[in-house]
Structures are given as C-alpha cells and as structure tokens.
C-alpha cells in the first residue's frame, strides 16, 4: 500500500526533478569517493616515493585510512576564533565545497553519461572553478589571522594570473573545434587527439592547472614552511576537510578538462556498451594525469612568489598568445 | 698582518696589562687586563687588527664582577682574552657598536649577572622571560663568591716576562 502511494507520488513528480535529485546524489557521492581515493593514493604514493610503506594498518594496506580520517574530522570540535568574522568564517568552506559539485553537470564521462551538454560548457566549468579563489579569499579574510590573509592574497594573485594562460591555451582548442560544448570537443577529436595537434597548449594548460589547484611546486597559499597552514590555518574539523575535498575535486577537474580537450575524453579501444563504458577510459586517463600531479608534488621544491608570477606573465602568457595566434592563422588557412 | 709583538705593544700602549699564556695548557695566547674605561679602545684596536669576537661573558668574583671578552682571528692562530672589572655602580661601556655580535652577548650578560652596559642600544632581556628579567641566575651568593686571586693562575704575575712566542703564526 505504502509502496503504491510512493510510486504514485514519484510518478506524479516531473521527471526532470527526479533526474536532478538523482544526479545530485550521484555527484555528491562521486565527489566524496574521489577525494577518498585521491587522498589515499596521495599518501600511499608519497610513501612509495619516500621509501616507506605509507598507511598500512587500518584495513588491508591501509585502504580505510581516509574513511577513518573523515569520520574523525566529523567528530572534531569546530572552533570559530573569537576575533574572526563568524558568518564569513562559516561561509568559506561551504563556498569552496558546493560549486565544485556543480561543475560535474557538464563533464562528459561517456557519450551518454553527461548531465547537461551546455553550449558554453567549457566557460561554465572555468567560471565555477574560479569561485574557489573567492572562497579562499573569504576564508583568509574571515579568519582574522595574518598567515591566513597572506595565504588568501597569494591564492588570489596566483589564480588571477594563471587563469589567463589557462584560458588562452584552451581557446586555441576551441578555435579548432568551433564549439564550447564539452561533448562537441570530444567528438571533434575522433581521428586524432588534440594533444598531438596542440602540444604547447596542453603543456601550458597543465602547468597553469597545477598552479590553479595550488599543488606543489605552486602551493604557495598553503606553504607550510612559510605560512604554517596558509589560508586554512584557523579551520578545524569538518570545515578543514571541506577545503581538502574541494582541492581534490578541483584537481580532478583540471585533469578532466585536460582529458576532454586534449586526450580524447572517453574515446579508447572499443568496449561493449561503449556509450556507457567509455567512462572507464575517461577515468583511467584522468587518474593517470592525477598521478603525474601527485608525482610532481612529492618531487619538487616550492617556487617563490615573484618567480611564480614572473613565470606566468613572462613565459606562459606570451607563449600561449603566440600559440593562439598560430592556431588562428592555421585554422583560417 | 701585524706581528704578535706589535699587537702586544699596541695592547700595552692602551694601556693594559698583557700576559702571555701557555697555549698548550690554557688554550689562549694573550691575557689582557683592562680598566672598564679602556674596553672600547681595546675592542676598536682588535677590530682594526681584524679579530672577531668569540664571546662576551662575565665571572662573578669579589670585589667586582669581571667581564670577559674573547677574540680570535680568522687568518692566524691567536686567541686573546680580555678581562675588565665592572665599575663601582655595576656598569660597563658597551662594545656593541664596534662588534655588532656583542649586542646579544651583552644582553645575555645583563640577564645572567645584571651588568648594565652603558650605551647599549637595546638592553632588553634575551634568554629569560621578560617578567623574570631581574633574577640574575649566575650570580653566586654569599660565601660562594671567590676573590679574584683565587681563580687566577697562581704564577700569572710571572708570565708577562716570558719570551714573546714565535711560530704561532699560521698563514692561510
């Protein structure tokens, strides 16, 4: 009886609403799962790079380590410092965390696995990712801590600078495909991937993406040896983990965009039900790029702030501009 | 590069009492006794001779606290120990404008012995917590304070007449 009423209610709802609810749940689940896996891989790989086993005792080979950490962080006290701006302080982690879920709307995991194929998909995803800088600025400002503020200012300056080469290098791909739609871009590379046609753009994009997600060697906003913990110095418990989840999800996006624009998205050797199982190739490519991010982080020292900006303004932007120009000329011809 | 003899003459003209010390037993070459007023001249002279400051410290003896200066040289083997008793009101002229490194050593000495260095730019507590800056932990109390001649080498007076030592110079 109850089931019937339930089904009736469900049937009476607009199908669009159900779709939204289901995708929202799946996306949120994926965000958490991705952070757990990435966090675990990061610690495990770090261990292997450093001649040690890494997490080992919590579950076989420590695979439950990140779950345990997450539950612990949930149970921690959330401190709002007396001098902090409480509303902003509460807002910042949410602002970092929520938008990253929204970007999943346009990511084509496979040819049929996409929530919405927006005409301006690429612009949408970049716009949403830029919100992260706002969250960090609010976190730094609201903490009323000088280290946090330093971290926030660095983060904003860094993001503003690196958005430019990132966009310019992506634009050269858009020039070739004549579309901003993520799906369209993937389909446009059916004979040959863009990474072969646009290697410079790919390199510039990947470096800028590394800076965009504040990964070493560009991890200045949270440079431990300089700014204790940077913009999240004052955040404890679950709010701190929100920043971490946001960082890992952003990493995922940077690599996902790279895969979609340069590495052919879901395309790969054919599998049964390719419209759906293309996600396997997609995720494999994304995690391979993520592995490179992790590898770089544990291998390189940090750059200094002026070097970081000089590198962007003096090398990346001119190169990406030249690349864009050359692409435009070739496309026109 | 000045010869040891010239250095000793310069020191004696400060004026100061200079004893030569057996390096193999005591670990330094010249023992210089000064008056408090001559300390700045002494430091300035050693600066001109290109010595560096090893440390400034003090020893609590009767009748007065003695400030110890040790200098050594980068280019040859020569270690000089200067000592000067503080003035009657427990002060000592600073040498921190001649040797910047003395700044911290003098602040430490003030912490530990309560000696005030006149002319010091920033005589704040260094090692001790600020609210306990008047503890003066290295001052000895009562009978533990020994007279100055009890802690000197017994034959120190005779050392000054020894031959000026040769062969201590080492070229870089």
């Amino acid at each position: 009886m109850g089931q019937a009423i339930f089904m009736e209610t469900v049937n009476s709802l607009p199908p669009e609403l159900i779709r939204i609810v289901v995708t929202a749940l799946v996306i949120i689940a994926f965000v958490f799962l991705n952070s757990l896996i990435l966090g675990y891989l990061e610690r495990k790989f770090a261990g292997w790079f450093q001649l040690r086993p890494g997490p080992m005792e919590v579950g076989p080979h420590g695979i439950f380590q990140l779950i345990v950490d997450g539950v612990k962080l949930l149970g921690k006290q959330f401190i709002i410092p007396k001098e902090a701006n409480a509303p902003l302080f509460r807002l910042a982690p949410l602002l970092a965390f929520i938008p990253v879920g929204m970007s999943f709307i346009v990511v084509p995991f496979s040819s049929k696995l996409q929530v919405r194929d927006l005409d301006v998909g690429l612009i949408f995803i970049l716009a949403i990712m830029a919100l992260n800088a706002v969250a960090i600025l609010i976190a730094g400002w609201g903490s009323n801590n000088k280290y946090s503020l330093f971290g926030a200012i660095r983060a904003v300056a860094q993001n503003v600078a690196y958005e430019i080469p990132m966009l310019l290098s992506l634009l050269s791909v858009v020039l070739m495909t004549n579309t901003f739609s993520m799906r369209g871009i993937v389909l446009a590379q059916s004979p040959v991937w863009h990474v072969i046609l646009q290697p410079v753009a790919f390199l510039i994009y990947f470096i800028a993406g590394m800076a965009e997600t504040h990964r070493a060697p560009f991890d200045l906003p949270e440079a431990e040896s300089e700014l204790t913990a940077g913009f999240h110095t004052e955040f404890s418990g679950i709010c701190f983990s929100f920043f971490f989840i946001a960082e890992y999800t952003n990493m995922f996006f940077v690599c996902a965009i790279a895969v979609i624009l340069f590495l052919g998205g879901w395309s790969g050797p054919p599998l049964p039900y390719m419209e759906y199982t293309g996600i396997i190739w997609f995720l494999l490519k994304v995690y391979a790029l993520l592995f490179i991010l992790i590898w770089v982080r544990w291998s390189f020292p940090r750059v200094r702030f002026d070097q970081l900006l000089n590198f962007c303004w003096k090398y990346l932007i001119p190169f990406s501009l030249v690349n864009l120009l050359v692409t435009a000329v070739i496309v026109k011809l | 590069m000045t010869t040891p003899n010239k250095l000793i003459n310069d020191l004696r003209n400060l004026p100061a009492t200079v004893h030569e010390v057996d390096y193999r037993q005591w670990g330094y070459h010249l023992d210089v006794l000064l008056e408090a007023g001559r300390v700045r001249g002494f430091a300035g002279m050693l600066r001109a001779h290109r010595f560096y400051l090893v440390f400034v410290s003090a020893v609590h003896t009767a009748p007065a606290i003695e400030i110890i200066y040790q200098f050594a040289c980068y280019s040859r083997q020569c270690r000089i120990l200067g000592r000067a008793a503080v003035t009657d009101n427990g002060t000592m002229p600073t040498i921190s404008d001649i040797y910047d490194g003395a700044n911290w050593h003098e602040r430490e000495t003030r912490d530990m012995f309560g000696v005030l260095f006149t002319g010091h730019p920033y005589l704040e507590p260094l090692l001790l917590p600020e609210e306990e800056a008047d503890r003066k932990p290295l001052l000895k109390n009562g009978s533990a304070v020994k007279a100055a001649d009890r802690i000197r080498r017994p034959n120190q007076a005779g050392i000054g007449t020894a031959e000026p030592h040769q062969g201590q110079e080492r070229d870089q």
Binding site: P53, A229 | E131
Partner: protein
C-alpha cells in the same frame, strides 16, 4: 621586546596564567561544556573512538632533543604513517595529538598552554622524554627556569620515558594512547618493510 610591541601582541596575560598554574601545581581545568557531549550514544561513541585512535594527527612541535627522535619516527625507517599518524599539521587547530618533545621552560610555558588551548577537542597529549615528564636532567637544585614536568601545565595522557626515547618508544606510546582510547591493544605491525 619594547612596551609598544607587547601591547600589540598581548603577551602578558598568558605568561601570568602559566606561572600561576605552575606554582600551584594544579592542572589545566577544561570547561565542563567543552568536554561533555549533549547526547551520548555508545555505538557512535565507540566508532568515533576507533576512528580517532587510528587517525592521530600530531602537531609539528618540537622543543629539544626529543624532537629529532620524533622526526625519526615520521621518517622512512620507523614510519608512523602505517598508523595514519604521519599527517604532521603545523596548525594546532587541525591536530589531535600534541607530542611535547623536549624541555618546557618558563618562557615557553605560556606558548605551550596557548597551543594546547588552540587545539580542537578531542585532543591528547604525549609527554615525550624525561624533561617533559619531570624536568629530567634539568630538575636540579639550582633550577630556575625549567618547568619540572609538563603535566603541571596541561593534562598528559601518556608518558614516554627516555632521554631521549627511541622512536620505537614513542611508537609504543602512540599504541598505548590508542589502547587508552579504544580499550583494545593493537598488535605490533605485521607488515615487515623490505630491506
């Protein structure tokens, strides 16, 4: 430090507090509200404790000799990360465990208390080494500066003796702390690193 800097940085109040605490020999008394949860659910509590015990994030906080052995524990040979305890957080807000590794003196005591109070509850303290336990070789008659035992300032969960303790000693201290938190003793690691 000049007077104007003191007023800017507000350094006085904690120093007085620390010295009063040390002289009275009394412990730090946390607020009752901070410690008591509103609802008590045993199962949830147990799961939480299990998770907390396996994810002890220490603070990067070394005072003296023991800090080097603490670092050794984080390094490749002893590798604390097997227990999920390698995440050294520089900010006290994100730590669960304060390892007092070394001598606390009267100048450091206020800072130590501040750090402890900045940590988010629930929090634990390991006193590592004889200095942190009792003053160690510095608890002499002439002592004018060393706090003889960090438990005069903050509550301590586990004492790890040694001067300094070996990294294995500190590891045992962490296992003891896990035992204290969950009631079960974890076995020594089964995993043998390849050599």
């Amino acid at each position: 430090m000049g007077e104007e800097k003191k007023s800017v940085l507000r350094v006085h109040s904690y120093a007085e507090l620390a010295h009063r605490r040390e002289e009275s020999g009394g412990l730090y008394q946390p607020d009752a509200a901070e410690e008591q949860p509103i609802i008590r659910l045993d199962l949830v509590e147990n799961i939480l404790n299990l998770c907390r015990a396996n994810s002890l994030w220490p603070m990067t906080f070394g005072l003296a000799c023991c800090a080097i052995e603490m670092m050794c524990l984080g390094m490749a040979r002893f590798d604390m990360s097997r227990y999920g305890a390698e995440v050294f957080r520089p900010s006290p807000r994100q730590c669960d465990l304060m390892i007092v590794a070394g001598t606390v003196n009267r100048k450091m005591a206020p800072a130590l208390i501040t750090l402890y109070e900045q940590m988010a509850a629930p929090k634990w303290v390991i006193a590592m080494g004889n200095c942190a336990i009792s003053g160690g070789p510095f608890a002499v008659r002439e002592n004018y500066n060393v706090v003889e035992g960090v438990d005069r300032l903050i509550p301590v969960d586990v004492h790890v003796p040694g001067c300094p303790p070996r990294p294995e000693g500190l590891l045992e201290g962490i296992l003891k702390l896990q035992e204290k938190m969950t009631g079960t003793r974890y076995p020594f690691p089964q995993f043998k690193p390849p050599r």
